[in-house]
């Protein structure tokens, strides 16, 4: 069977129309009583093109989640501006943005079906439409047999699929995912990556995927932003040049090795810095 698209089809887009833009964005945590807090991010400039698959990769603790927070409007940047679809984002999540968090955010007190439909109900979508969209999402995420189950009865990977489905039914035009496959085993990651690619193609949404896995970024993305150790800045943006029709088998492409080795070349130094292998650990925190 063919699955109904979950997102409004993308309008015919001019090449490289900017969908969201961060300009000079920084974020500092907890500067209290005059003492400087943790400078977690930036300054960062990123321009997301409408309909592209953009990944952000960087060593742990470099500010990736912080970047997602400020881009989604969950927190305010300390400096800089964020624009989504021509309107500034300031401290509230704009309509059309969906977020999948790093942590499991499924509601343990609701069935899988109710979890997926919850956001639609809260936004006053009528019941018939909710039913249609939830059914489509269940099918797409391979959760049809588990619609009546409660999340604690599912594996971590299935719970994360519930969270992705819950985001997709809202038909977001920009989907932000924060290491959504972090808790999964390697094979499941590959399969989930393929599913994400399919969703991306079918919905025409813009995707920003945050990850710390080289191969994941190389495999899935049109473009990859490589971040430095904290405070995270964009060191380089790499165009992969993959065709839109693609899946994890792209790893066999001769160009794949070139992309990953380029990424690792940029990241090795930063990862060493992040774990304090060169500078004494924590010296920059005091």
């Amino acid at each position: 069977m063919t699955v109904r698209p979950l997102t409004r089809p993308a309008a015919a887009t001019a090449p490289h129309e900017i969908h969201a833009r961060l300009a000079g964005v920084t974020r500092t945590y907890g500067a209290v009583g005059g003492r400087g807090g943790v400078h977690a991010l930036g300054p960062v400039d990123i321009a997301l093109r409408r309909g592209e698959f953009y990944s952000v990769i960087g060593p742990s603790g470099c500010g990736k989640s912080t970047l997602l927070d400020v881009l989604s409007g969950l927190s305010r940047p300390s400096a800089g501006t964020i624009v989504f679809e021509g309107r500034p984002v300031d401290g509230a999540v704009p309509d059309g943005v969906g977020v999948v968090f790093q942590e499991d955010a499924s509601f343990p007190w609701m069935t899988v079906r109710d979890n997926i439909g919850f956001g639609l109900r809260e936004n006053g979508v009528d019941a018939a439409e909710i039913g249609r969209r939830v059914d489509a999402a269940l099918a797409l995420m391979g959760l049809r047999d588990f619609a009546a189950a409660y999340p604690p009865q599912l594996s971590g990977g299935m719970r994360q699929r519930v969270c992705i489905a819950r985001t997709l039914v809202m038909q977001p035009r920009l989907i932000l995912l924060d290491e959504p496959f972090g808790a999964l085993d390697a094979q499941t990651r590959l399969i989930m990556g393929d599913e994400l690619l399919r969703v991306w193609r079918e919905t025409g949404a813009t995707v920003m995927l945050i990850t710390h896995a080289l191969d994941e970024a190389a495999m899935l993305s049109d473009r990859i932003g490589v971040m430095s150790a904290r405070p995270g800045r964009i060191l380089a943006e790499i165009e992969t040049g993959w065709p839109r029709e693609r899946d994890s088998r792209i790893a066999a492409d001769p160009g794949f090795g070139a992309v990953t080795s380029r990424l690792w070349g940029l990241l090795r130094e930063e990862s060493l810095r992040a774990i304090g292998a060169q500078a004494p650990a924590g010296a920059d925190r005091a």
Partner: protein, 250 residues
């Protein structure tokens, strides 16, 4: 019944049997210890004659009222204070030492303010129960995974909707602890107030029997109270288990 339940029952039965033997064998001072069988017989006759019905109804009504008010107020207060971390930290030492205050001493004050009757008794039960619920709400809200309220923000839900539809169910297991404590504390507060100062209710009836050297009636009423507390606890425990069952892995 589970194995643990069987062992527990056996322990309780053995304890009661030991008390019975000790009381009958004269090991305990006569008059102090009445054999459990006689206490049960006395309770049965009291229940059959309906002597305690009015007091019992009054006490249960007071407890229900105090507890209901405390649950609503305690949850609301907890939810609001949780959103104000500075206020919360400032309140902490007061909340922590709240249960050391001898509330009953406020009873005369409450009578002047609220008049004679059930209101001051309900007020004491409420004062006892409300902070337990508030503290449980604070603890429960502390343990809500960060991603859940953030999800609510992505859906642009307001603070009240988020509290009722996300935070309340997420914190439900902890809130249940609060409910159990609030029920217990409402009982403790109401019975204690009746015991000390009232002229009706189960607590008063126990004090009255004691003052008239009617130990048999006193023990019978205490047994009745114990039975009620155990039954109420059992019902709450069962409801809690049903709630938790769903949330556990297979």
């Amino acid at each position: 019944m589970s194995r643990a339940g069987l062992v527990r029952t056996a322990i309780v039965v053995a304890a009661v049997a030991a008390l019975e033997l000790a009381a009958r064998g004269g090991l305990l001072r006569a008059g102090v210890a009445v054999p459990p069988s006689e206490v049960a017989a006395k309770l049965w006759s009291i229940l059959r004659a309906g002597d305690a019905n009015a007091d019992l109804a009054e006490t249960l009504g007071n407890v229900a009222l105090a507890c209901g008010l405390a649950l609503v107020a305690g949850f609301s207060l907890g939810a609001v204070v949780h959103g104000l971390p500075r206020l919360r930290r400032a309140l902490d030492p007061f909340l922590a030492s709240y249960y050391a205050l001898p509330f009953f001493a406020f009873y005369p004050v409450l009578i002047v303010v609220l008049g004679i009757g059930r209101l001051p008794i309900v007020a004491i039960g409420f004062m006892f129960a409300v902070v337990a619920m508030m503290v449980a709400t604070l603890n429960g809200f502390d343990r809500i995974p960060r991603a859940l309220p953030r999800t609510a923000r992505v859906w642009r839900m307001g603070p009240v909707r988020t509290a009722l539809k996300i935070k309340l169910p997420s914190a439900a297991p902890h809130l249940f602890t609060g409910i159990k404590l609030a029920v217990a504390y409402a009982f403790i507060g109401v019975i204690a107030a009746e015991f000390i100062m009232a002229t009706s209710g189960l607590g008063y009836a126990i004090a009255y029997a004691f003052n008239n050297y009617d130990n048999r009636t006193m023990y019978a009423l205490m047994l009745l109270l114990l039975g009620i507390v155990v039954v109420v606890n059992g019902v709450l425990h069962g409801a809690e288990q049903r709630l938790l069952a769903r949330r556990r892995a297979r």
